[in-house]
């Protein structure tokens, strides 16, 4: 049996949503690990783009920053931010973007800016970065989060990046280039969106968790289909590749598994 940590499960699961040949926005952290894992396994021909300016990147080690020189080695072009976020992303060339968040609501809207009221924030988070741009313009959005009741909220403290906003028609109202969130992956389950209401819907539950576990950790009414399968486990190859990509355990956590 394959041994894996929660983080490894999450990364492996996220990577399975990347299709070969796609233009993928990498970022850093877990999303980047997922994208790199996909590139090293089932999706060797993805075009990995870092918003800082690297195109078709092939980093040998996992970069710690979107601007890390590790992104440069072997990339086919090294340009700038207007190129990646403007010419590529805003023009609709990005197939998949990855985002994390501190809070998500039932339409997949994301908060990465403030916890607490805007007027007197309790916690300043990183902010949008390229997140809002990616959420606005990537064709598909994969959201990765650790599962926690305080993160799956009915009302965001701050709406940083658009999911499906207020539901059907919302993104069209703002002529958004991208299609919005497609899947939300946590260490507990996978969720997608009900095509009619564009609200979050349970898709599969990870081994060791139940539907009830998920429901206990969501503060809105999660749509539960009749049939909720168990998520596939990572393969040994995936675990090995991740350990090779992140030898210092920066993303995977010290100790690896």
């Amino acid at each position: 049996m394959v041994e894996y940590s929660k983080i490894e499960f999450l990364a492996a699961c996220a990577s399975s949503h990347v299709r070969d040949g796609e233009n993928v926005f990498g970022g850093t952290g877990l999303p980047l690990l997922a994208a790199l894992l996909a590139k090293e396994t089932h999706a060797r021909n993805i075009n990995l783009i870092s918003e800082a300016g690297f195109i078709d990147a092939r980093p040998r080690e996992v970069p710690l920053s979107v601007a890390d020189t590790r992104y440069y080695l072997g990339c086919s072009a090294s340009i700038g931010l207007i190129e990646t976020l403007g010419f590529i992303l805003q023009a609709g060339h990005v197939d998949v973007g990855f985002l994390g968040a501190a809070q998500i609501d039932e339409y997949g809207n994301l908060n990465t800016t403030y916890i607490g009221p805007y007027e007197s924030p309790k916690v300043r988070l990183p902010g949008s970065g390229g997140g809002n741009d990616i959420a606005s313009s990537a064709k598909r959005l994969i959201i990765i989060m650790t599962h926690d009741k305080r993160k799956f909220v009915k009302q965001l403290d701050h709406l940083t990046s658009p999911g499906h906003l207020e539901g059907p028609g919302s993104r069209e109202k703002w002529s958004m280039v991208g299609g919005g969130p497609e899947v939300v992956i946590t260490d507990m389950c996978q969720m997608d969106f009900d095509p009619k209401t564009l609200k979050i819907r349970l898709m599969s539950v990870h081994p060791g968790y139940t539907v009830q576990n998920v429901l206990d950790n969501v503060m809105f009414d999660l749509i539960i289909p009749n049939d909720v399968p168990t998520t596939d486990e990572p393969t040994q190859e995936q675990i090995d590749v991740m350990h090779r990509l992140d030898p210092h355990g920066v993303y995977l956590g010290k100790g690896g598994s």
Binding site: T28, G29, S50, E51, A52, G53, F54, L64, S65, V66, A67, D68, T69, R70, Y71, Y72, L73, S78, I79, G80, L81, I82, L85, G86, L89, Q90, N109, T113, Y118, S120, P121, K122, V123, R124, L125, P126, G127, S128, G129, G130, G131, N132, D133, S136, S137, H158, L159, T160, S161, P162, L165, S170, K173, W174, S175, M176, V177, H248, V250, Y251
Partner: protein
């Protein structure tokens, strides 16, 4: 050189070429009330807001990326001592592009539908405007251009006349270097004019824009400079850890910034054997 109250475009992107030596010098000179404009910065913003130099920022991002939240920023915002006007990365880059082009605004398709449009920290109506496009009728977001008092850029090399070459990614530094009323370049090394003119395509910033040049090796430590040195991960982790508490941050401030006379003394304190180990290996660049 930089008067209190100035606005600064702040160069570098993520771990790449942040002008940290310049931030430390601003702190040593006890500057106050500076406003920072940038897409995102990390250690540099942490020390600037931590030391009380910068009460206002118009930015898209602050954190130490893979390492975690910006602790000093988090504390200063919670204390009400720092205000951030939030934009997205593309929005900030377009604001610099508009400033460089000397037009009053630029259009973009991000930010609409979110609290970045609905809420403003201090710019109010001047934060942005969502209009109906006069050509297509669709909604489009206009962001105001920025032409700050200074642009601060960290480049790999310059010649005597100020031509600056940047290797690797440029982030938003092309637009940012051109949008400021004055441009200050921190360069890792001074090279002969011939070397610049042999590869004019690498001259990302022609001398005509440049007002001041400071030759500053390891200007980005503990971050990286493409082709010159890698980030100092151990130091960075230490830095991130000490910023969690005000007391340990103040100790750091006293030791590594206020407690050294200048950037050279800082490098001496870090130690040259340590710095030399960070030097980039060719051709990989880190």
């Amino acid at each position: 050189m930089v008067p209190d109250g100035s606005g600064l475009f702040w160069g570098g992107f993520g771990f790449q070429r942040p002008p940290i030596a310049f931030a430390s010098e601003l702190i040593r000179q006890k500057k106050r009330n500076l406003t920072i404009y940038t897409c995102g910065s990390e250690v540099d913003l942490e020390i600037l807001v931590g030391a009380g130099v910068v009460p206002r920022l118009e930015i898209a991002f602050v954190a130490i990326e893979a390492l975690g939240l910006a602790n000093n920023m988090r504390r200063r915002v919670a204390e009400g001592k720092v205000e951030i006007e939030d934009y997205s990365n593309l929005a900030m880059a377009m604001r610099f592009l508009g400033g460089a082009l000397n037009v009053p605004f630029m259009p973009l398709r991000s930010m609409m539908g979110t609290d970045m449009v609905a809420k403003s920290r201090y710019r109010g109506d001047e934060k942005l405007k969502v209009i109906d496009c006069p050509f297509t009728g669709e909604k489009i977001c206009l962001v105001p251009s920025i032409q700050p008092d200074f642009s601060i850029i960290h480049a790999q090399r310059v010649d005597m006349s100020g031509n600056a070459q940047i290797d690797g990614i440029v982030g938003e530094d092309l637009e940012g270097s051109r949008c400021g009323k004055k441009l200050i370049i921190l360069a890792e090394e001074l090279v002969d004019e011939e070397e610049i003119r042999f590869a004019p395509e690498q001259t990302k910033i022609p001398a005509m824009y440049v007002d001041h040049v400071v030759i500053t090796p390891f200007a980005a430590h503990p971050m990286m400079c493409h082709g010159y040195y890698d980030y100092d991960l151990e130091f960075l982790q230490m830095f991130h850890k000490i910023t969690r508490k005000e007391e340990t941050w103040q100790e750091y401030l006293d030791t590594y910034i206020l407690g050294v006379e200048n950037h050279t003394a800082y490098l001496d304190k870090i130690g040259w054997s340590r710095l030399n180990k960070l030097k980039a290996i060719k051709p990989r660049g880190y």
